[in-house]
Symmetry: C2
């Protein structure tokens, strides 16, 4: 496993769009928040492109990503948004360039395909975190992201009932790093009014649980992209690992279909634990998840504010993690050194 | 490859629901049409059950299916509808019982999971065909289904522009068996008024094409279920085969994601040809399919009235087929002997 260096003041971060189209506002928000941390940003050549449901042709999106990996000045790569399209290009990425100069990669949702690819091809630890405008909307989200990319402090995330998350106006969860100081207390002020935005409800996952504690490498991300990776060369070996899953806007039968595909494809064989993030606008997903996960006989912790909910906690991937389903915490070692 | 015997007058057909819930009307329609062909029908024990999005528990649905395979009097098994749920039980089915007494299995959509399972585990030729009320709504659909299950005459299906299919009120396509007599002329009269029913438009797949002729075993079915089978033990070896795909109610980016998953999982490696059925209520799917399929360099024929469109042509699976993208025909050998 390779940890890229953490971001330092003055470091350059490339803003890329390897999946769906990005708006000027989303790109500007991402730049604003990173620059407020003392970083510099560079908008990739095709970041604001649009081609049907993609931000550009496969060649354009791949070129932006590879240019970022090859440019020695670039120290971080932030995917401005997900959407769809990352899996179309990951088999063609130049992983020699990735290995030659490991750098921090941040994104989530559709970017799950890139996380899995970088892990499989280069053993690179990455950061499952929000991007674009989501970085700016919630102070806990912002603070956790900053901690994950600029420090080597482990992140501890407290599970919380989704109803609580959805109903809370302010910082909705306690974010407690391993040194005991809540992340929320170090929230970065951003020059933007805190306008409450409509957030669809997270599925009630309170019945999704199995007690116990597990240690293992944290891998995973968006359930749809995990299922779409089944059978491909980037299907991960999850023996001894902790699988992270989150989802947005999928009907219960679709969530069921994807979980069953993972089961049938061996993703749960030898797994050490399951960390269940937000299942936002996925009605009845909790019922489906409880049926499939509770019977695995391994620790399962749901209600983690990771994914598409109002708080989008950042977690490193590809690094050791400790899941405690009894106290309701997930502690993850840093992705950076 | 094992061909089950064709259905003869007086044969018993079990009506099962291995996926979603079935209505009384759907079960009655299926029985009506089969009995009009001189067959007897038996409604399985849990056929009208309901449990969330399923017609029963996994154990109940599996028990119905296995009872049908084990009962020597049952000569055909008709899946009244798809929906979702078949993949939840196929890994537990007793394939020794299937091999011990091969019988005709009919269904489509979610039943694709069963077709793939029976092919992989028992080498059983099956029938990709409509069921329930769909059997009764359209005379071409009815006639093709009857021909496929009661005769050994090969079926020839003529591709047609989807716009034509959607706009036609009567029998919308010429259905020409290999002996030259259009199937539509032998349509079975059913005592039910031909009420025009609203059918969502099929995607325009007129740009999906690659010339040439291909011979190979016809395998496939619903694209979602094919993608959901990637990585599982039932992922088929399609070397030298012709892949059939059809879909309903999926956005273009989802169709793209599934096709890309098949590509990345090797389904197109060594493939002889692609038969593209209806992509009903899948806006812009034609654009996605053209991009991915036309470049394969193998014969691709779209516009086949197979799937969820107004005409739902029956085709055998697991048997030799001839795809002629130049004349726009797919000829399939019988699934029965």
């Amino acid at each position: 496993m390779i940890r890229p260096p953490r971001l330092e003041p003055g470091d350059l971060v490339a803003l890329v769009a390897p999946a769906g189209p990005v708006t000027e506002a989303q790109a500007a928000d991402a730049a604003t928040i990173l620059e407020s941390w003392g970083l510099r940003t560079h908008r990739s050549r095709h970041a604001l492109g649009r081609r049907f449901f993609l931000s550009g042709t496969d060649d354009e999106r791949l070129a932006d990503l590879e240019a970022s990996f090859r440019d020695p000045e670039v120290r971080g790569i932030l995917c401005i948004r997900g959407g769809y399209g990352t899996q179309r290009i990951v088999d063609r990425l130049d992983y020699d360039a990735v290995r030659a100069d490991p750098k921090l990669v941040i994104g989530f949702s559709d970017i799950t395909a890139l996380h899995l690819a970088l892990w499989h091809e280069a053993g690179l630890a990455t950061v499952h975190g929000p991007s674009g405008s989501a970085l700016i909307n919630d102070p806990v989200t912002t603070a956790a992201a900053r901690q994950a990319v600029t420090t080597t402090t482990p992140l501890t995330i407290l599970a919380t009932a989704p109803a609580t998350v959805a109903a809370t106006a302010g910082p909705p969860v306690a974010a407690i790093p391993a040194d005991g100081a809540p992340v929320a207390h170090s929230t970065t002020a951003v020059a933007r009014p805190a306008v409450p935005h409509a957030v669809p409800a997270d599925a009630d996952t309170s019945l999704v649980r199995h007690p116990g504690r597990a240690d293992g490498t944290l891998l995973g991300g968006n359930l749809t992209l995990l299922a779409a990776t089944a059978g491909t060369r980037h299907q991960p070996d999850l023996t001894g690992a902790i699988l992270l899953i989150e989802e947005v806007n999928e009907a219960a039968f679709r969530v069921d279909r994807m979980i069953v595909q993972l089961k049938r494809s061996g993703w749960f064989d030898g797994l050490a634990g399951v960390a269940v993030g937000s299942f936002t606008a996925c009605p009845d997903a909790g019922r489906v998840l409880a049926e499939h996960l509770n019977e695995l006989g391994i620790p399962v912790l749901a209600g983690l504010p990771i994914g598409h909910g109002p708080t989008r906690f950042t977690v490193p991937l590809g690094v050791p993690a400790h899941l405690d389903a009894d106290t309701g915490t997930l502690t993850v070692q840093p992705a950076v050194r």
